[in-house]
Symmetry: C2
Subunit: 462 residues, 2 copies
Amino acid sequence: MNASVLQTLTDLLGKDGLLVDPDVTGSYRRDMMPLAPHGSPLAVALPRDAAQVAAVVKACAAAKVPIVPRGAGSGLSGAANAIDGCVVLVTTRLNEIVEVDPDNRLAVVQPGVVNLDLRGAVEKHGLFYPPDPSSYDWCTIGGNLSTNAGGLCCVKYGVTTDSVLGLEVVLADGEVLRTGRRTVKGVAGYDLTKLFVGSEGTLGVITQATLALRPLPQAPGTLVAAFSSVAAAGAAVSRVVREGIVPSLMEIMDATSIEAVEAHLKTELGAGKGCAALLLCQSDSGGEQARRELGAIEQVCQDSGADLVHSTFDLAEGQMLLAARRAVLMALEEYGTWMTDDVCVPRTRIADLISGCERISAETGLRVAVVGHAGDGNMHPTIIYDPTSEREFALATRAFNDILAVGLSLGGTVTGEHGIGKIKREWLEREIGPVGLRTHRAIKAALDPENLFNPGSMFSMT
Amino acid sequence: MNASVLQTLTDLLGKDGLLVDPDVTGSYRRDMMPLAPHGSPLAVALPRDAAQVAAVVKACAAAKVPIVPRGAGSGLSGAANAIDGCVVLVTTRLNEIVEVDPDNRLAVVQPGVVNLDLRGAVEKHGLFYPPDPSSYDWCTIGGNLSTNAGGLCCVKYGVTTDSVLGLEVVLADGEVLRTGRRTVKGVAGYDLTKLFVGSEGTLGVITQATLALRPLPQAPGTLVAAFSSVAAAGAAVSRVVREGIVPSLMEIMDATSIEAVEAHLKTELGAGKGCAALLLCQSDSGGEQARRELGAIEQVCQDSGADLVHSTFDLAEGQMLLAARRAVLMALEEYGTWMTDDVCVPRTRIADLISGCERISAETGLRVAVVGHAGDGNMHPTIIYDPTSEREFALATRAFNDILAVGLSLGGTVTGEHGIGKIKREWLEREIGPVGLRTHRAIKAALDPENLFNPGSMFSMT
């Protein structure tokens, strides 16, 4: 049976479109989350267009071979991890920017387009595609859609789903569904577009997307504020929200992150001794408006007890500060292997989450760095461990889960932007409860009755 | 059987909670769209809380009596219209604003809260709930959620779904589903929240919603521009979009609407003789920013050949102009009965839509006024007819459908914000195609296997 489906797929895709050598397919076994389970694929399919995707789906459905859709593999929840005997369907060859329509501020793209390439292509038209996950220079739009990716932009511009007008999706029977529209508004029928966005490859394979674009913002001004207590930094975030200031970026780094970045980049972030937290904010409103926004944030930081506040409209300096924030994970690698969490809490509870992480760090004896998108409460506590030590791996796993429990207890969610995947299945159940789980299963069974797509990911059917 | 379910419901809700007198229930037969079919309800249920809603659902499910959920009845698609023998479940008594949390910029409300009341309650905290359908002074949040209502705000602030964080929904088995969260980001599981928003009462009864709020914008500046051709006004809209200007409001009125409003309000809108279209724009960015935005729009209008452009930061004058726009439907009533369409087209095709409406007006001999949300291409061509003339009613129905066909042919959707309801079922099928329809049916069957909620509305199951 397997030999027969492999032959069918080779006939469809050509020899270079179907990888079967275990030495090659091995690199498609998992994404960037080491904790999530992963198996060995039967094959890796690299279709070139939607028709080939549909043909692969039909062949796999007929042979009852499960399909795991995958983009670049930058995910952090194991959603694209292979299961034994599956076909990993990689969409990276569907990488055409089909259309940029500046008059209607939209783009039509295939799923394999890299986020950064789309950003560049629309920027030429004075337009902006907001979602900017940390992996934006190599992750694909298809993966962004499947995980409803976020990034640093979300505090002002929302997440991926907020930028999607319509999708083309290959369903489990190989038929092509078109959802949504090219208009900015539209309520004809159920919002299937937003149902597929964030469904992590469990309902179909996205083969095209119509994306809403925004006017390119002004070059940003940047503010950095250093606090000697996490509580003071948290209070500043709450007050920015309360006062109705909407920065275009508002990130937090705790002492462990700052220290790691300073060592890694061999630079001073100006945090100084005794700095417990840095806030990094930007305004892209331009001119007087940006000065007013950053001025208001500066005042809030001072009132909240910041030891130092510095604003700059020098682009290079702003980019340097942002690069420091983006370098945290790489910097932490100097201490060991990292495992990053992704809890999102109400914005008033950020300081509580960070103290929870400090407690868990003390309990496990592991370093836990906290960085995150303070402006929307989406924190990435990152645990450092020695991967060669079974004890440390077990402790890291415990810390990972304890942090999720703290997030939930603060009224948060176990995933702000990375997704459930194969790493947080039991946490999904804990968060959404039995009625929520039953509803998920009903929808999955309705759209994918044979459980063809990514079976066992996000939730199990039994 | 019916007697027994009526007894059960009376026991549950009390005599004042269950209306059965046909003279009384008659006023719950239909919403504001005269064209849509409507039947006679068995009873009208007015539960007071979510537990009573769940009990009504269970009782009706057991007796196989269909339920039509309803808010204030301001809808324009017949989605809340009764079918023969149904229970109309009215949510207006669940009218509590449960919580306003200014620190996290959210509100928790019951579905019966009137849109205007929520606006007022959050404004006290310096906060803003954007969705503002024309009926905002009497429509309810529950209806807004069920139709994914829009309004004048959408060009800058999006539609209802963009302001919803989570829902509480009574499902067809009477169980209570909680979707979403209180955090601004979150990707745990499918986006059930946005699936229920806009589902027009076909999947469950919303009993509570957690809504995201925004900082209260600045008092707006207002611009009005008069054009002697619709094409010139359309070109101005396209250029505003292309130049990346985002006004907080951008409305268009054609000559018929202007004339009607001027006669009705006994005022001059400053359009002058030969005016074919007025554009009405606002910026709520405040201060210099607002002046810059309106200045840029002014320039675009002049370049596009406007005969007159006038900007004002006088609040009373701005409100007067906005009131004129909001008065169009009422003003048109002086000519006869109106029937309003709701097509949304790509923003570059607005002028084409208006010329299409002029053609249809000439063909049918009926007056067709076009007003709409130019900034997002959502137009409301409004047909005037004599309801006592069968011939005119037939012509109006033909015009209504012809306008939908024009909208679709321009790459638009048959409903930008009013919904499909019981008036555009065949048009939904035409817009989404057989795979789309099959997907809708599969989801409906998964969540409401006995077809309890609003059967036959939006689409039929066979």
